[in-house]
């Protein structure tokens, strides 16, 4: 058995202590502790559905060592949606624009979109596509996802958010 490590970190604004295995990825550690909004797809960094914010930056949680998150801060799609206006607005826009079909890619898409928009991302379809280029969607064909992010970017530009 791998060594067990206790890590203290902040998840969705709350300080928690988790017991993780030395080799475990952050994705498994989160899901084992009931953060089920973080989805597991490929587990090798290719699909992006496991995307979370680590110290404010979007990362693929399956390629991050859980133990190395000791002392750091994580936000997931659900936590962000419940506590930030920006992500709540992105989630609404996904619903309004029909950007969710099976929904499996959605949490990762929303976190990647949050990272893009909170760093001043513009309503620019090419740049939006680049921002979500590590997130695969097998249902929508991406157009409606780009529409949703574009819509929020436009709202921000017009001072509506």
């Amino acid at each position: 058995m791998s060594e067990k490590i206790n890590i203290k970190l902040k998840i969705n604004g709350v300080f928690v202590t988790l017991e993780v295995l030395a080799h475990q990825n952050l994705l498994r550690a989160l899901r084992d502790n009931y953060y089920w909004d973080v989805k597991c797809g490929c587990e090798v960094g290719e699909c992006g559905t496991c995307t979370v914010l680590l110290d404010g930056q979007a990362v693929k949680s399956c390629t991050v060592l859980a133990a190395a998150c000791d002392g750091h801060e994580i936000w997931t799609d659900k936590g962000l949606g419940l506590s930030t206006k920006l992500t709540a607005r992105i989630q609404d826009a996904f619903v309004e624009c029909g950007s969710v079909q099976c929904g499996f890619c959605t949490p990762g898409m929303v976190v990647a979109a949050t990272d893009y928009l909170k760093n001043g991302g513009k309503p620019d379809r090419t740049a939006i596509r680049e921002a979500i280029s590590g997130n695969l969607c097998r249902c929508t064909g991406y157009v409606k996802i780009v529409d949703a992010i574009y819509k929020v970017a436009k709202d921000i530009e017009e001072g509506l958010l």
Binding site: A68, E130, G134
Partner: protein, 282 residues
């Protein structure tokens, strides 16, 4: 059953002590290590996290050199004004690296230590004469990047050694281009980097060309460089590269492309990398 241990290192000395004589492996961003653990390539070792070591995370300049800490992420390279101005090839490589979320964790030290023939930072660093600074508990050494890679996945690094930083020379005329299966999230089919200086008559007075994914390691293209020296970088010269470039490379067939295709397309990539270095477009 997986049997790993874990330690967090907060200083370089602590990391080196943990690596010394132990069955240990460094983890920086983890974008390669976590897939290695999953696939069983890494088994039963102690993982040493170096991502929180502040002394490995900096970008500094002096009169003619830039120094980059091993744990600088690809995103940091992309955003750095110093890199944009003085190491344009590396900026361009960072811009086409994986996708933004991988770039937020992947480090330049990890990219070099993994020694993939397709490592995207390598050709860019090679044309800027990169030197890799390496430490172990009892010694330190520096190795030119051109001598750092040994074979696919193999470098001169020993298990107890750590890359601390990379030093490169400033050069405003450099360029990098990547050919992949798609624009993002792709492992390179061919990459080319160049750094070119012209004299007053518009003749190439110095030139460095490096290539990725067309040999067992990223390489400097010596024949191509010799061919270009003292010539004008016009269309005739750039179209005549093929022979020289094909002497430099030894491509293989893999799932991304055939060796024949790589032979056809590499000279075109070299041509574009040179145009990028000189005119900022290709």
């Amino acid at each position: 059953m997986k049997e790993f241990g874990y330690k967090n290192a907060t200083t370089i000395t602590e990391a080196l002590t943990l690596l010394d004589g132990q069955n240990a492996r460094v983890v920086a961003g983890g974008t390669n290590v976590l897939p290695y653990i999953r696939s069983g390539k890494y088994t039963d070792c102690r993982l040493i996290n170096i991502r929180d070591i502040k002394d490995l995370n900096f970008i500094k300049e002096d009169s003619d050199r830039i120094t980059i800490g091993a744990c600088v992420t690809i995103s940091q390279l992309k955003k750095s004004k110093l890199i944009l101005e003085f190491v344009p090839a590396l900026h361009q490589a960072a811009c086409v690296f994986a996708d933004p979320t991988i770039c937020n964790t992947a480090t330049v030290g990890g990219n070099l230590a993994s020694a993939s023939p397709a490592a995207d930072t390598a050709p860019a660093l090679l044309v800027h004469d990169a030197i890799v600074f390496i430490k172990s508990l009892n010694s330190s050494r520096s190795v030119p990047l051109s001598e750092f890679f040994k074979a696919p996945g193999t470098t001169v690094l020993q298990r107890n050694e750590l890359i601390t930083h990379i030093e490169i020379s400033k050069q405003k005329n450099s360029g990098f281009i990547k050919l992949g299966m798609r624009k993002s999230m792709s492992i390179s089919i061919v990459t080319a980097a160049s750094s070119v200086t012209l004299n007053d008559a518009g003749i190439i007075s110095s030139c460095k060309i490096a290539l990725g994914a067309v040999a067992p390691t990223p390489i400097r293209a010596a024949h191509t460089e010799r061919f270009l020296l003292s010539k004008k970088p016009d269309d005739d010269t750039l179209s005549a590269l093929i022979k020289a470039t094909n002497l430099d490379i030894s491509p293989i067939d893999d799932i991304r492309a055939s060796a024949d295709y790589r032979r056809e397309v590499t000279p075109v990539m070299v041509k574009r990398a040179i145009k990028l270095a000189l005119y900022e477009h290709c």
